[in-house]
Amino acid sequence: MMRKSQALEANALDPMTTHPVMIRKIIWENDDTFTLTLDMSGFAGGFRFLPGQFNMVYVYGVGEAAVSISSDPARPGTLDHTIHRVGLVTTSLAQKKRGDMIGIRGPFGSSWSIDVARGKDICIASGGIGLAPLRPVIYSLLKKREDFGRIIVLYGGRSPLDLLYRVELEKWASDANVEVLVTVDRGDSSWKGHIGVVTSLFQYIKLDARETVAYVCGPEIMMKYTIDELDRRGVPQSQTYLSMERNMKCAVGFCGHCQFGPTFICKEGPVYPLPRVRHLLDRKEL
């Protein structure tokens, strides 16, 4: 009779132990969002990750938060996390100074598929801090700019002061042939740009829909409308990807918190091809 499955021989990695790393730089992107640059030289060969993956970021004695990686995968010696100050852990992180230590474990989760975009146009649609997990993909695309067609970045923030990575957005537009379209919910006296939700930017671009790959990240409501808009314009669902967020404690599929219907966002996500989750997005309080 069979007993004690082969699973008993499963690998014994310990993904639950945090690794102390030093904060090398802190940049305040706006009033409540900041980017921590971490020194990863303690990791042999640096910290390897794929665009779209996330880490569990630990503050000594306080707790952990799941934060997407926002730096360039080709520069594994440092690691950027762009963090919105909102809860206990992120507020503690906001009080950290250069030279302080925090803990990191990861990287976890799935990544944006860049290979599928080779030879195609790319439409990146993001809202708020949703641009952070997409920045590594932009870095990766720009490394091999000639491999891709048009690169369109649609980005929406609450107000002009809330916009992330403003200098870089301008640089991508001027130096790298990236079509950057930015909108805000509310303008101010200095704002000469567009006002409205992210989907309102679609009126300014003409997509070669069947030859376009879309990467979407932002608040869930923004993603839902964006997906509808992409769908309406004929971008195949199989070429549309999005990144989901849920509460996470373990990041390895043990704690149960991040379940989104049949899927664990920490294991199968956070980045999903749209057909995998399309039907789930309409289910309120899933």
Binding site: T17, H19, Y60, G61, G103, V252, C255, G256, K267, E285
Partner: protein, 373 residues
């Protein structure tokens, strides 16, 4: 099959103890049959049985002197393999920096579980999948599980809230044990029929006085198990069940059950497959020493799905729906089995007597879709 007389059963415990096992088994404590360390067969609930119904549990003296004439109580084996509280690491301050000491399960207790029922074998197999079969393995669970010895006991008595026959998990222990016993009490005899499930079980049996079972004794086991199968207190129709629940995501029944459900999380605490956990980070007063603890959590707690932008599941309606659809629908896609083994604990220990089998049946009854066929 082999026969072990009642008087020789202590030999099994002695063999386990000699093998370095800490023997855990059922015993009467606080008015319930709970799991605790056993040093002798005398500590088993001899002559006790239990009465279970939706929202009610009681033990009483049985009509005979049997050792296993009751069903599962409030404890399950997950309390040993997946402890309710576990330190994941400790850390200490070193100037601006800190150092982390992972807790290594270097010398975990070597457990022998005595009296594991077939539904519980199924539950352990399910938790094996969760904690040991993915890209990551939980090292604490793995260490405890690898060294555990399982002595199962077939259920020849079934309880009022049992429905293992519906879930295909009992009452006969099919696999996942080292040794399985069936207790037989007739007017003049009291013995156990033993079957081996592993070399460890074989080795244990060799240390206990036993003999080959005869034809009549074999038939006795089949008869007893058949009778148990036919006397299940509850049943759950699993025909097309995942699809039925998929199609009834907005069933009015969720609102109905939410009016009764207290969101107390009892069902998830007693469930032998529920695996959700959270973590707590603490420091001592000086801040020089920090620890991270894992503890059981429940999808019924208010901040379970809290994210920066708000809370995903805001009502009891959606929390109960998450729990039931996880057990009977999403689990199948996640792990290839139902997350329910039909043990009935959630029904018995629900303070208001909510019955998962009744809720599933009500959804089936009110379903407007063709999956109800």
């Amino acid at each position: 099959m082999f026969i072990v007389e009642l008087n020789d059963l202590q030999g099994l415990l002695t063999a386990l103890q000699a093998g370095g096992f800490t023997v855990i088994g059922p015993t009467v404590k606080d008015g319930a049959i709970t799991f605790d360390t056993l040093s002798s067969i005398e500590e088993l609930p001899r002559g006790w049985s239990d009465v279970q119904e939706a929202g009610s549990y009681g033990i009483r003296h049985s009509e005979d002197d049997t050792l296993f004439s009751y069903n599962v109580g409030p404890h399950s084996w997950k309390k040993f393999l997946f402890p309710a509280r576990l330190r994941l690491f400790s850390a200490r301050k070193a100037g601006k920096a800190f150092e982390v000491d992972p807790v290594s399960p270097s010398a975990p207790p070597k457990y022998a579980f005595l009296g594991v029922r077939s539904c519980e074998l199924a539950a352990i197999a399910i938790q094996d999948k969760i904690f040991m079969s993915g890209p990551y393995a939980d090292k604490h669970y793995t260490a405890l599980r690898k060294s555990a010895c399982i002595i199962a006991v077939n259920c020849v008595h079934v309880g009022g809230t049992c429905f293992c026959a519906s879930m295909g998990t009992g009452p006969r222990a099919k696999d996942g044990y080292d040794l399985v016993l069936t207790e037989i009490r007739t007017d003049d005899r009291h013995y156990f029929v033993a079957q081996m499930g592993s070399p460890l079980g074989k080795g244990l049996l060799q240390q206990v006085t036993h003999r080959e079972a005869d034809q009549k004794e074999r038939e006795q086991v089949e008869k007893a198990l058949k009778a148990a199968h036919d006397r299940m207190g509850r049943s759950l129709d699993t025909h097309n069940l995942p699809r039925l629940l998929e199609d009834n995501f907005e069933s009015p029944r969720w609102e109905d059950v939410a009016k009764r459900c207290l969101s107390c999380a009892n069902c998830t605490m007693v469930c032998p497959t529920c695996f959700c956990s959270t973590v707590e980070d603490v420091t001592d007063l000086s801040g020089e020493h920090a620890e991270r603890w894992r503890r059981w959590d429940s999808c019924f707690t208010t901040d379970f799905t809290k994210v920066a932008g708000g809370n995903i599941r805001m009502s009891t309606r959606t929390r109960y729906r998450q729990w039931l659809t996880h057990k009977l629908c999403n689990w199948v896609e996640q792990f290839g089995t139902y997350g329910c083994v039909g043990c009935g604990r959630c029904i018995t220990w629900c303070p208001v007597g909510i019955d998962i089998t009744a809720e599933a049946a009500a959804i089936r009854e009110t379903s407007m879709t063709t999956t109800n066929g």
